[in-house]
């Protein structure tokens, strides 16, 4: 969590997922797998040892037929800003070997696979289960390693990995901009693979600090909320929903409490 010089124009990349638009198709997951060289096993039905940087949950209002409703809830890494000082996300603060870091320029929580030695403390710290452990050596059978992207290194067994907001795309875009002698990236120059893959456009990605980015406006919507906000994790992934039961399912409330009416004492940055 070292201070960096160009802190003044720091970005806070974030995501807004419109749950009213999400159809649960799973394109974001597949888009992420193919972008980030995510391996697969013969059996991926144990979701607790299945590597998914973004996983789409199916939640229901638990009402009997025919009043049942379902809602799909895609969950990438929330890229928490955490409480207090910038970068004190639940995971970054606990990693003993600085293998996960909060980038002050972008607000993105990184994971350094070659640094990580697999203590899994960060997984214990993350309330979203966004972090996945490589319990197995990754295997790409029958020439399948030929489709791997050179922009994301495949992970070895025994390390933790998670959604990086496709940080390599940011780096590629930055390099391009640098060569073209530009300071700023346009909104569409840096988009995550899941946002790009979402066929209904439910995922919007951009700099929360930048007034011209769509996300900046979207998070002001009364429909906007974040998951487990009350833990003060201060996530940069926002959700939109018009359904109260969905909003309620996104956090914990005491019987008398109403979503959206709780005083939230998280300090907003910038």
């Amino acid at each position: 969590m070292k201070e960096k010089n160009n802190h003044k124009h720091a970005k806070r990349y974030g995501m807004v997922i419109d749950l009213d638009k999400c159809t649960g198709c799973g394109s974001c997951m597949v888009g992420c797998y193919s972008e980030n060289n995510i391996p697969f096993k013969t059996d991926e039905t144990n979701k607790l040892d299945s590597i998914n940087w973004i996983r789409v949950f199916k939640i229901t209002n638990n009402k009997p037929y025919p009043d049942t409703e379902i809602c799909y809830l895609p969950m990438p890494c929330m890229q928490c800003d955490g409480v207090g000082k910038h970068g004190h996300s639940p995971c970054v603060s606990v990693c003993p070997a600085v293998a996960t870091d909060y980038d002050l320029d972008t607000g993105i929580v990184s994971q350094i696979y070659t640094r990580c030695f697999g203590c899994r403390y960060c997984m214990a710290a993350c309330p979203y289960h966004a972090r996945k452990f490589n319990w197995w050596d990754p295997v790409w059978p029958a020439d399948m390693e030929k489709y791997l992207s050179p922009n994301v290194s495949p992970r070895m067994r025994g390390v933790v990995e998670k959604c990086s907001f496709c940080f390599h795309r940011y780096q590629l875009a930055r390099n391009k901009a640098y060569l073209e002698k530009r300071e700023e990236l346009a909104e569409d120059e840096y988009q995550t693979a899941c946002a790009e893959a979402c066929p209904t456009g439910a995922i919007t990605f951009g700099d929360l600090n930048n007034k011209s980015h769509a996300v900046h406006q979207l998070i002001k919507s009364p429909k906007a909320f974040r998951l487990l906000e009350r833990l003060k994790t201060n996530p940069k992934v926002y959700y939109l929903t018009s359904k109260n039961w969905v909003r309620r399912a996104g956090d914990n409330y005491l019987a008398h409490e109403e979503p959206g009416k709780i005083k939230n004492n998280i300090k907003e940055h910038h």
Binding site: T23, G24, C25, S34, K47, Y65, K146, Y147, S153, T200
Partner: protein, 763 residues
Amino acid sequence: MKIDRRSFLTYGTALVLGGAAGSMLSPAPWKLTDDVAIWTQNWPWTPVPEDGEVTYKPSVCTLCPGGCGINVRLVNGRPVKIKGLKDHPVNKGSLCPMGISGLQYLYGPSRVTSPLKREGKRGEGKWKKVSWEEALAAVTGKLAELRANGRPQSLACITGSDQGTIPNLIGRFLTAYGSPNYIRAATAQDAIEQAIYLTQGKQGTPVPDIENANFIISFGSGILDGWGLPGRMFNLYGNQKTPKKIIQVEPRLSDTAAKANQWIGINPGTETALALGLAHVIIKESLYNKDFVENCAFGFDEWTDENGKTHDGFATMAKGYTPKKVSQITGITPAKIKSLARAFARASKPIAINGRGHGAIPGSIDESLAIQSLNALVGNINKTGGISAIPDSNYAKWPEVNIDEIASKGMQQPRIDGAGSEQFPNTRFLLNRLPEIINSAQGESPIQALLVTDANPMYTIPDTTATKKAFDRIPLIVSFSPYMDETASYADYILPNHSYLERLQDVPVAVGISRQVISLAQPVIQPAYDTKHVGDTFIHMAKSLGGFISKAFPWDNYEGFLKEALSDQWRKLKKKGMIEIDHTLPEPMAYTFNTVSTKFEFYPTARNSAKQKEDSALPAYTPVPIEGDTQRFQLVLIPYDSIRLVGGYMANAPFMTKTVDDTVLKKQIGLLEINPTTARGLGLKEGNLALLKTPKGEATVKVHLYEGIMPGIIALPRGLGHTAYSKYLADKGCNTNTLIGSIEDPASGLDMAWGIRAKLTRI
């Protein structure tokens, strides 16, 4: 000093300890520690993808008939990622998960990497790699033999699509060879196109204009579960300029139902009754489009034929479908029926669509007729936001085919599946009838050789047991599949096609009431294995067979043919990747129909199947029979479709199976959806193992309690239960086609089964 054993031990230990301590002061252990750590960071068995120049190649996805534009990212010519093509008119950048997992169809353990000849028993999995020369010689030898024996009609070919030049090329091969038995796998389009043909007199691909409609009643169509052109449907849903109202009518809360403005649970198989009930309300309350009905339609009111016989009109018939009666049939309250009918009729651009789930099973002709009549009542035929049929396009110019005497004799034989016969005059293909016909044939099988391309009948034809039995009787089965699918694994020869990313192909897709997009799927990579373009294989076989057959194929290869057939359009297609054809007719022509009455026929006079000659041709609700007696089988099993599972001739890529929820598949066992109240009655709890029995078969399933399914109904997903491919898909869950048979529509011969009776017992 004397060295005895004791001092040897003492000094030895001291030396070792001292040495160990001393070496810690040297750089060796530290260097080793560091090197070992560096080794763990670069384990040789963890691949390091090669970097290089990044390029993009646009193409078209042909994994399903959706025809979405794709953009393939390549590094040093190596495809590494598939994205949607932003400016493609079909999908505008949206892709389904299957399209995005495309690279797993390029490489992987289920690919057939060279021609194979069967060694062991059928389906045993013992193969011998053979050369293309040997494999082609063996197959053409057998084909030549059939012709020599004067039985060219005993050759059949099953394909997955009849759109585009590849299926046409294969059709041409069969014609020149002398077999009428070119059979395309069934889809829901078959029933709809027949309903359109009967009411409008027009043969073509049905196109509901989802883009411009603003009120959609979907009778079980999984608009957001993979129905129609999936990439396009998602895109339209996500980018609604003006919000659409979607009413989803089906017994299970599907993903489409979840996203719909309203989900109406209906007793499965009673959609026809609801459609007619809606018509009843619309007519009774005089909400129908009078301009269309009075000026452009026939048979709305009573009419008299040339023999002086009076026939009921549609309105007369609809009188019988009172909300009360329909409510009893469908389980939907009369109030809901009325308000739905009113909302539909009052909407500015309403449309009613059908084809359950992905639209794999055609359903009854009555259902499609009733729904087309509903569309006609609101007058949205052949207009923006409505429904139309696009004629088979003739953008490719084919030279005349001349056939020899043997072929001509063969072509005069009736089709094996009965399509186009007196019994089913308006049906083009009836793959579902094939197993039964072969199985009931006396003596030799009427099919002696079967070619299968872009289809997986061993998996997709309902009643797998019967299909397998039928295929056992066919002496030669040749698969052209690039993958070791169920049919390929049961074949005698596999002549593997290129995978879709290695293949040249034209892809026609209808995207609006009159707009057709012809895209060109261009190879993004040289063939990775010893495979051959299926078009080239057929051209090669034609040339080997010689004579008129050879003459019908004057081209060197498929690309040569395509260039010639597309003539001046080829360059444009090659350059732009796609061309658009506008089929728009001038206003008056749009409402002039090719029927006898030149009007839209609410009373389809062309409907004259053997059974219904005497009856009224008007659509009517007759309960679709369902197999199984209610005593033994107290539940009803319905299959459902999901966008994360491929239920058709293609199968899930490992990535897609990875996205499947653990409430659908757990380890190797599929989960069965059941309403908690029904489960309670059976003493079943979440996660219980149970034996599912139907009149057609049985399977072990796990119970998943789901409030979103009608009590008494149980559901299993399509697309699981594969027995072939690789360990990433095989033996996971169960194939619904092993549990559900086909129910033949007496009017069309098409499969109209929507489920089967079933019994569930806890293990």
